[in-house]
């Protein structure tokens, strides 16, 4: 005989308590109504203004101590192939030139989008990411275990990883110059360096108004603000006179914040923690009772 009734009850209570703890914990994590910080900052990128001078890249390199670039920033041969962010390049400017762009070059700056509800944040099991009220999505290398789920979750393929560091690899990405923008009047290094008005820093809601006005006044703009609603909205937003899909933007992201895709599942877990033990205990009791009656009345057989 396995277990007496009292011991069994104790076990069940234990399992129940563990389940209840699960409820409390996950309920807090499921802040489903979080829509991003209303007063957070953002950047509006106008791809029709950017001249591809790569001053932003250079400023970023200096601000974040990223070391000497492979090719000097004035070297335009980097435009031959589209580039992506790297461990030592938190932002890159790509050139697009084709019939679709009227054979004129269009330059697009790329970096972490600083999502309102970041997938990287929800993915990280070590809580290495946080969304600062300034708008910046911040990475903390001190707790990261290096599972790279954040990279795999990011819809923009933004974070990179220091695979070449054997013992202390870090995830790398744009920091939104958190230390600078936390100061009154501070702007990110790239914005400061830009000689044109291609990248504008400000409150996200003000930037949205500016963008809407631009689109209303000039019909040559595509009627879309990229990042306004993509994956629930991002701090960095883009406007363009060339269809976004021609400029390497992903158009299949939808407007739901990616962390929300997992809330439904996470919510079922507490139910499982409480419901399943009760169910199984029930089956166990039935099986035991059957066995007992089969022993006492062997003539009836087991079935």
């Amino acid at each position: 005989m396995g277990i007496d009734r009292r011991g069994f009850l104790k076990l069940m209570l234990g399992a129940g308590a563990a389940g209840a703890l699960g409820v409390a914990r996950e309920a807090k994590a499921n802040n489903e109504d979080f829509e991003g910080y209303p007063d957070s900052n953002g950047v509006l990128v106008d791809t029709s203004v950017c001249i591809g001078c790569r001053s932003c890249e250079e400023a970023c390199d200096r601000a974040n101590n990223l070391g000497k670039p492979a090719k000097y920033f004035a070297d335009n041969s980097v435009f031959e192939k589209p580039r992506r962010t790297q461990n030592n390049e938190f932002t890159v400017v790509n050139r697009f030139q084709s019939e679709a762009t009227g054979n004129k070059p269009v330059f697009v700056k790329k970096q972490c989008m600083h999502c309102n509800e970041p997938a990287c944040f929800a993915a990280c099991l070590a809580k290495a990411f946080s969304k600062s009220p300034t708008g910046a999505v911040v990475y903390n290398q001190d707790v990261c275990i290096g599972c790279r789920y954040c990279m795999q979750a990011c819809p923009f393929y933004a974070p990179t990883y220091e695979y070449d560091r054997a013992f202390t690899p870090r995830v790398r990405k744009c920091t939104f110059c958190l230390n600078r923008i936390s100061q009154p009047g501070g702007v990110p290094a790239c914005v400061e360096a830009c000689p044109t008005d291609a990248i504008l820093f400000g409150k996200r809601k003000d930037l949205l108004k500016i963008a809407q006005k631009k689109l209303a006044n000039d019909s040559s703009y595509v009627d879309h603000i990229y990042g306004q609603n993509e994956v629930g909205g991002t701090s960095w937003m883009y406007i363009s006179k060339v269809p976004f899909e021609q400029l390497g933007f992903k158009m299949d992201l939808g407007t739901t914040a990616l962390p929300k895709k997992t809330y439904g599942f996470l919510a079922t877990i507490p139910v499982l923690h409480i419901g399943l033990p009760i169910l199984l205990a029930g089956f166990y009791t039935i099986a035991k009772a059957r066995e007992k009656s089969a022993k006492e009345h062997p003539e009836e057989g087991r079935k």
Partner: protein, 407 residues
Amino acid sequence: MSERTMPTTPKEWIRENIFLGKTIGEYIKSLITPWNIVAAAILAVGIPVIIYRLIYGLGAATHLSNINPWGLWLGFDMFFGVAVATGGFVMAVGVYIFGLKDYQPMVRPAILTGFLGYFFAIVGLAMDLGRYYRLPYPLTFSMGTASVLFLVAEHLALYLTIQFIEFLPAVVEWLHLTKIREWLYKIHIGAVILGSVLVLGHQSALGAVFLIMPSRLHPLWYSPYLPYLFFVSCLAGGIAMLVVESLLSHKVFGWQVKESDHEKIDRLTLGLGKAAGFVLFAYFALKMLALLHGGNWVYLKGFYGVVYLIEVIGFVLLPLYLYTMAVRRQSATLVRVASVLTVLGIMVNRFNVCMTALNWDAPERYFPSWMEIVLSLTLATFGVIVFKWVVNRMPVLYRLPDFPDEH
């Protein structure tokens, strides 16, 4: 071996229990078998590879990149390894909760495989972590509770402990620790119930890991049903693995089993085949539902369409058909064929989700480096070696007369 008497001195004990009653020289000689030579060859390459990875890092050992941060070590060791290690759970619930006493002889080998499967999955995961020495961080002072992966880690760690407790009776019987054995009887059912909760939790969570990447996983595999697909398929994989495993272990450890048992094993195999068939049917239905749900059949063309069709027709429908035939013809052999196919099918599915169809929209594809392949093989080999070591010593396939059936 069951007639072994309690040895008196520690030296005798070691000889009896560790060296199987042989002298060290004899014992070493007995280790030279074809399988052991193959295993030794794998380890001879694999252990240096492990050391190389630990010293020179992921960049030197793998083909992982900024675009494809996940590869074989997660796909094989974690997603596949854990999926087919559910046999222990299936057997424990079947025998101890539902009282299917006939399957009693299969419980312990199943739990042992389960435990080792999980253990080496976690070792594989550690190999994959950039900072493996921080493995306990998420479970201690920096918990990302909103993360599905956190749920996986938490449930995995607990379940590994539970499986250890479930297997402990075999260890204490081996060591003749009667007192502890009695105490273990008492907590056994609790452990089985808690274990079930954990299995359901982390198996579905492993599927839910991909929910956050709708644009990065190909639509033929991405589905809001991923948690359910993973759970149902791991049941099929776990049951099929039981069949494969009992086939192998009775080939290898046949001497531990009485002749009359073979007929019984065929009967049990047929029972498992029936169960696997049912589960596989449910899995197929769910997969079709997932396909129809998003109107995703439009993607059934080109490279990914072919990969998907191979997976579904070759590794779900075909074994399903074979199981049906097996039950109709009462053929244990057919069940075994179908089971091998099912286990392979789970591997194909996990590889597709975790590698082939992942980051499909990116310009760069992933293929594992030879070191990644060797390391995964090495961990699997370690698993088999430990399994053999334990089965040769502890009452796993047979029961000691002093400790008859539990419950």
